[in-house]
């Protein structure tokens, strides 16, 4: 059974239809890129899965539970962890406090404190820079550091599926490479299932995995990122859009 399944999802913002009848599913351990130009409905889709944007129609299932219309905090408890667009660091909190916010959801389980401490050490091992700045105000970190912080924060809840919205946004190319390097290493290490939204399909082609291309609120292509990337279809889909 698939870990995440969307069927016939429609999202509307008053009269504007952002996503129209979109269906796809993801298996455990998969890496899936959703790409497409601005306004294609990629972010709306992620926010709908997270439960922060209501859907106008359709059904979403996560790990065997229907989550359509559920509260974000309950969806998070089923193992979905989100890194939103623009990162949404809690700027007035320290780096370490940012990491710890999400660990409270396991507070009913036995031994959650020691597990949270282990998790914290694991995140610090992956991102040593975060450990150096652990007591510093998170709002003062650089863009790249904040991106690493929010990825670490998403991992702290020990999720089954991590969704990341435009990790490249506002980052210098070499910093962006570093972010992806860590992501790919983390994925191998923890058998993470990753759902990544990017405007550009270039990154998907480089990393590999599956790619869905959206335009105008619909899926126009779905397949292996590397084979899709070489075809002409993708060029047509991107017509008029400048790749970054």
């Amino acid at each position: 059974m698939s870990l995440l399944a969307l069927s016939d999802i429609t999202i509307r913002y008053s009269r504007l239809t952002a996503v129209r009848n979109v269906s796809f599913s993801m298996d455990e351990g998969e890496i899936l890129f959703i790409t497409g130009p601005n306004g294609a409905g990629k972010s709306s889709l992620l926010r709908a899965i997270a439960g922060v944007t209501p859907v106008a129609g359709g059904r979403i299932d996560l790990a065997g539970h229907e989550i359509t219309g559920q509260a974000p905090e309950n969806i998070a408890r089923l193992g979905f962890s989100m890194v939103p667009e623009g990162r949404d660091v809690f700027g007035s909190l320290t780096t370490e406090e940012n990491l710890l916010v999400g660990t409270g959801m396991h507070a009913r389980e036995r031994g959650w404190r020691s597990r949270a401490a282990d998790e914290l050490e694991a995140v610090y091992a992956t991102f040593p820079m975060l450990k150096e700045r652990r007591h510093g105000q998170a709002g003062l970190l650089s863009g790249g550091q904040q991106q690493m912080l929010v990825i670490g924060r998403a991992l702290m809840t020990n999720p089954r599926l991590v969704a990341i919205d435009e990790p490249s946004l506002g980052l210098a190319p070499n910093i962006n490479d570093q972010v992806y390097e860590r992501l790919i290493a983390l994925r191998a290490q923890r058998q993470l299932t990753l759902l990544i939204v990017e405007q550009s399909s270039a990154r998907a082609m480089m990393v590999g995995g599956r790619m869905i291309l959206m335009r105008g609120g619909q899926i126009v292509l779905d397949g292996d990122a590397r084979t899709l990337g070489n075809g002409e279809a993708i060029q047509a889909a991107y017509f008029g859009y400048e790749d970054n």
Partner: protein
């Protein structure tokens, strides 16, 4: 001189506690809670047995302080949480203006409920009379109550800071105040955080009720309103949603009121508040975002 300082601090304490109660709720749900003053009035009248007679029938007010304190604090927290569950929960998705109007309406409901039970006549009560004895400090004679007000406020402020900084619930509240939907995506329960904020805010209202009731000795269903006006202004000049700013501005307003009371020429003193508000306008002209601008202007929930 010392007398002025203590007057300023004790008046500022009331404003600061009031402003804090408003800022706490504003922080987590962008609600400007105009019913806060009526929660204060409710807590004061919780000391009495309901009757419309001119004579106050003291009920809880007779309790020894170690029972009185938790009783009144629980009244405040309980009423505040009840308001959240019955009224504000239904307005979570509504825009801030709608919520504000709802809070106005709720305030009137509480006030008229009190009016029905107690009539509009002010009642006198001597609450903890042993506190009105003067003490002598560094040559100044101060009522013990003033000292206790200042000390109690400091204890509350320190306690609240520790609570917000050191506990898991405090961490979740701070995260939610800055970015509610992100906090929820990390599993922070919206209802728990909001109810916690209301409970704290209600307990602060109760603390004000006790202090104010003991200071003035008269209970009036309008009494919340006078403090709340200043407290609202303090939250705004403090930077809406910023807790530190609310406290700072509360003390500044207290100081400004007391200093003007002393410094203004006799003829101008009746217009003291006009001068205080004038100063407020000046502050806002130069710092429209408030003294300490709050973080997190992201949308709520």
């Amino acid at each position: 001189m010392l007398q002025i300082l203590f007057d300023a601090l004790s008046l500022g304490s009331l404003y600061a506690l009031g402003a804090l109660g408003i800022a706490l709720i504003f922080g987590v749900m962008r609600l400007v809670n105009f019913a806060h003053g009526d929660v204060i009035a409710f807590c004061v009248f919780a000391l009495l047995w309901p009757s419309t007679d001119a004579m106050a029938i003291v009920f809880a007010g007779q309790l020894p302080w170690y029972l009185l304190l938790p009783f009144v604090l629980l009244c405040g927290a309980g009423l505040s949480v009840l308001c959240e569950i019955v009224v504000f929960r239904r307005f979570r998705q509504a825009n801030p203006a709608t919520m504000m109007i709802a809070s106005f309406a709720l305030g009137f409901v509480i006030r008229y409920f009190l009016l029905m039970l107690f009539s509009s006549r002010p009642k006198s009560i001597s609450l903890l009379p042993e506190l009105s004895q003067p003490v002598e400090i560094l040559g100044a004679r101060l009522p013990l109550l003033q000292l206790i007000t200042i000390v109690a406020t400091m204890v509350i402020l320190i306690g609240l800071t520790l609570f917000l900084r050191q506990t898991r619930f405090g961490l979740e509240m701070r995260a939610a105040a800055e970015n509610f939907s992100m906090a929820r995506m990390l599993g922070v329960r919206a209802n728990r955080v909001i109810m916690g904020a209301f409970a704290l805010s209600g307990a602060l209202a109760a603390a004000i009720a006790l202090i104010f009731g003991a200071q003035t000795g008269t209970l009036d269903i309008q009494m919340g309103a006078s403090i709340m006006l200043m407290a609202f202004i303090a939250t705004v000049i403090g930077g809406l949603g910023s807790l530190g700013g609310a406290v700072l501005a509360g003390f500044l307003l207290g100081a400004a009121s007391v200093i003007m009371q002393v410094m203004l020429p006799i003829d101008a003193r009746p217009f003291r508040d006009a001068f205080v508000y004038g100063a407020v306008i000046l502050v806002l002209l130069f710092r429209p975002q408030g003294l300490i601008a709050a973080r997190g202007t992201k949308e709520r929930i």
